[in-house]
């Protein structure tokens, strides 16, 4: 059919002619948690941690899932995760990055739902409000094997495990696509979202400064190094690490003492002026 003008076209256009579907966003909120050691002289052990919500309604009633919600028609797509984030943590102005959009036909039993996932990186110290009920931080550990990863989440009371299979994509790529191999405890396709986010963070850590979104204003280099280590899941050598981050941080006049050993100087993030 041909129309004479855009106005005429739009007047004749009827959204009701199309099938119903909905868009939601899910947010992978990541942070770093400290585990206090029994021996007062040892430094605290760090973990990555993720904020999960226990579903109190169908579908997936009583399972854990990522915070998320329906997109409103009058709200930009990126506003949706910001709104949910504010609701769950009380924080705004935090680092947020789009991860991936999932849209298999049967991912939600209610109706056809397309879900865009986001990753948020926060510094837990900024959390002042109490967490909502049904909400809890889970420490993340992951064990990579040849073609799969086992991810273990725990919050002292409960443990959640899932396994992701890495399948080499057809054709010529060395990138993986993922499939859920085992999952008992998490709702929807959220294991995929969690693992996509971890992979993304692992990569990004090497060529961006995103980590500093998870750090407090002032920090010791040893702590910073530990954060890199838990994200990358491997030990780093001190001198190499310090060389690499040298131009990303600046020393302050403050020190952190009282831990039974040489006090560490406190640093702050310094934006690198020479952007190549």
């Amino acid at each position: 059919m041909m129309y004479k003008s855009e106005e005429e076209f739009l007047k004749a256009y009827n959204p009701e002619d199309y099938d119903r579907l909905a868009v939601t966003t899910d947010i992978l909120i990541l942070s770093i948690s400290d585990e206090v050691q029994s021996n007062y002289r040892k430094s605290s052990k760090k973990h990555m941690s993720v904020l999960l919500v226990k579903r109190d309604d169908y579908p997936f009633k009583d399972k854990w899932c990522l915070p998320g919600g329906f997109l409103k028609v009058d709200e930009d797509l990126e506003e949706c995760p910001k709104r949910i984030l504010k609701q769950e943590t009380g924080l705004h102005d935090i680092y947020l990055e789009q991860l991936y959009t999932f849209g298999s036909v049967n991912r939600d039993p209610r109706m056809r739902i397309i879900s865009t996932s986001y990753m948020a990186l926060i510094d837990k110290n900024r959390l002042t409000d109490k967490l909502n009920e049904n909400t809890s931080w889970f420490n993340i550990k992951y064990f990579e094997e040849e073609n799969s990863v086992l991810v273990v989440l725990d919050n002292d009371k409960e443990q959640i495990k899932f396994k992701i299979k890495k399948e080499l994509k057809e054709l010529t790529t060395d990138r993986y696509k993922f499939k859920i191999e085992e999952n008992e405890d998490l709702a929807f396709d959220h294991p995929l979202v969690i693992w996509s986010g971890i992979e993304r963070l692992k990569n990004k850590v090497n060529y961006t400064d995103v980590v500093f979104n998870m750090m407090p204003e002032l920090f010791a280099l040893g702590d910073l190094q530990q954060v890199y280590e838990v994200i990358l899941n491997k030990k780093l050598l001190d001198p190499a690490f310090r060389r690499i981050i040298a131009n990303k941080v600046e020393k302050t006049e403050f020190v952190q003492s009282g831990a039974g050993h040489r006090p560490s100087a406190l640093f702050r993030y310094k934006k690198n002026e020479d952007t190549k």
Copy 2:
């Protein structure tokens, strides 16, 4: 409201209670084109090129845009770009990767539309069918400045220019987010899609083997190098280039001769067995 069972919940669930919105996908189809030189001894000059479609209806009537279409309710999200790709090029089994999901409230005058963009990489030699009418390949050139990029597309008859502004994201990242600064000729937010794709490809070229999706079965290393050069938009040094790709290709018994200079050996892509 509380329900006794999942069945009961789903029975009471009414999709009609929610506002209408639609999901579309747009595909950035990239390939490499050769420009034959006047001097028979000079090798052909290569360009990246993108497939565009001229809109024959409102909105944006008579403007160029990326191929795309509405997601059907009974179709997985990734099936949608595959279907459109088949329709536009006659090809299936081609490299496809999700880029980004755009969802500003007013990106489409018809109704609320969320659009997931994909990037497809193809080897033009595989194209046997004639292109649809209203469809054309445009060569891509881009000029990067301090905080912006000028992208110029042309297909001999028409030239399309747009300018993207790179804004440093708030907070601590060195990644950019983009904004359209100038655009006369392209529909929707497609300049953003095109530039996101080019950036993605530029990065990926360094740590994956995606380029080989744009190469024929057999190719000369000089040609391969030129493809890297047009993607990265800079000259590479021969020895360095050959060192880097050495373990990604294998020499065949074939050569390419008849060009007024030393014939080049033909290589084929070789998957690297040691995946670290």
